[in-house]
Symmetry: C2
Subunit: 209 residues, 2 copies
């Protein structure tokens, strides 16, 4: 298995090894080019091991979406520091992929790219759509909690925390989509605009990032 195959550290079991190989194959061939053979080529496992664990390619890919959902849900679950301003900043930084990757793991852009490629498949794939609906709800829940804490502490002024959280999540995904589908790397410029929005619409006057 190549280093690029690792989503995060060493696989705990065969299921996770298959998930990491699927990630590597998606990075190499893209979603339309995926086959069981190509996933197997990214691992030390035989094709028959794959068929022992899964019904076929579609089954592996849905499992991978579930695996990614779990991975992102854990990653975006910002551990509260008791400081909602810092927590909100951490949420934005993590969700825009602006943080260093641990050694031996793929960079944040690789994860975001594969996530967005699969997310767009949800347009046609109902099972994927159900997973991503749940993922979005979890991210919005996490961010709503941060915003509500900020309101309680008097550092945020927001009328409708849940809608504001949903809007921030949508904007962040829009920025990530622009970043990964354009050649001119617009992320830092768009991120600066997002921080201005948060400064004006979320933080109270005497608080800033």
């Amino acid at each position: 298995m190549s280093d690029e195959a690792l989503l995060d550290g060493n696989p705990a079991d065969t299921h996770e090894a298959i998930m990491m190989a699927t990630f590597a194959a998606l990075r190499t061939h893209g979603y339309p080019g995926i086959s069981i053979q190509r996933i197997a080529d990214e691992s030390d496992l035989t094709k028959s091991t794959f068929y022992h664990h899964f019904d076929g390619k579609d089954d592996i890919l849905l499992s991978f979406v579930e695996y990614m959902r779990d991975y992102f849900e854990r990653g975006y679950q910002i551990e509260s520091t008791g400081d909602p301003v810092g927590d909100l900043e951490a949420f934005v930084t993590v969700s825009l992929g602006e943080y260093p990757a641990a050694e031996g793991t793929p960079d944040a852009d690789a994860r975001l790219s594969t996530y967005l490629e699969l997310r767009a498949q949800a347009i046609q794939n109902e099972a994927f759509r159900a997973e991503f609906t749940e993922l979005s709800a979890t991210l919005v829940d996490n961010l709503t909690e941060i915003i509500e804490t900020g309101i309680e502490q008097g550092v945020f002024a927001v009328d409708d925390p849940r809608s504001t959280a949903a809007y921030l999540v949508a904007t962040i995904e829009g920025i990530n989509l622009q970043q990964t589908t354009r050649t001119d790397s617009p992320r830092s410029m768009l991120q600066a605009q997002l921080l201005t929005y948060i400064d004006t619409e979320v933080l109270v006057d005497d608080v800033s990032f």
Copy 2:
């Protein structure tokens, strides 16, 4: 050719007929399921006609991306009414797909869905990425012009029209991605948040939509 094949009205020539068939095949099978046979099945043309016009599937799909780019560039080129507030509102409405489709054409959601599915392929496909980078630049240009007119007329207050335009385009794509990849139709809620942002960050105090 089924009614769904039509991207807009009747095809002007064989090239456009192939583009419409490609759109219909993308709607039916999704990007990973596309083949020349399936595109041909959506048209009255033979497979050999396709090979006469194109080198193969990848060539057809790149042509379709160029066709879509042209279609969106024309569609989002808001004809200035001399009223930048109305023009900005029209830009938002059109780009969120919130307008009635002409009779016999697919609805705006079908076009947006296929657009986003292809846009996500740009993550892996460099030729697509070049096209979508140009499309984004054109949309940002159009919107920048509207914002600059609004500043001149004293109805908008914006420090950096181009960055604001780029941020609005990213946010709108994020809303469209959420709408097309979730089961809970979040568009109107997110659109309301976007209008609040525009009201506070773009329009001067005594102007509103």
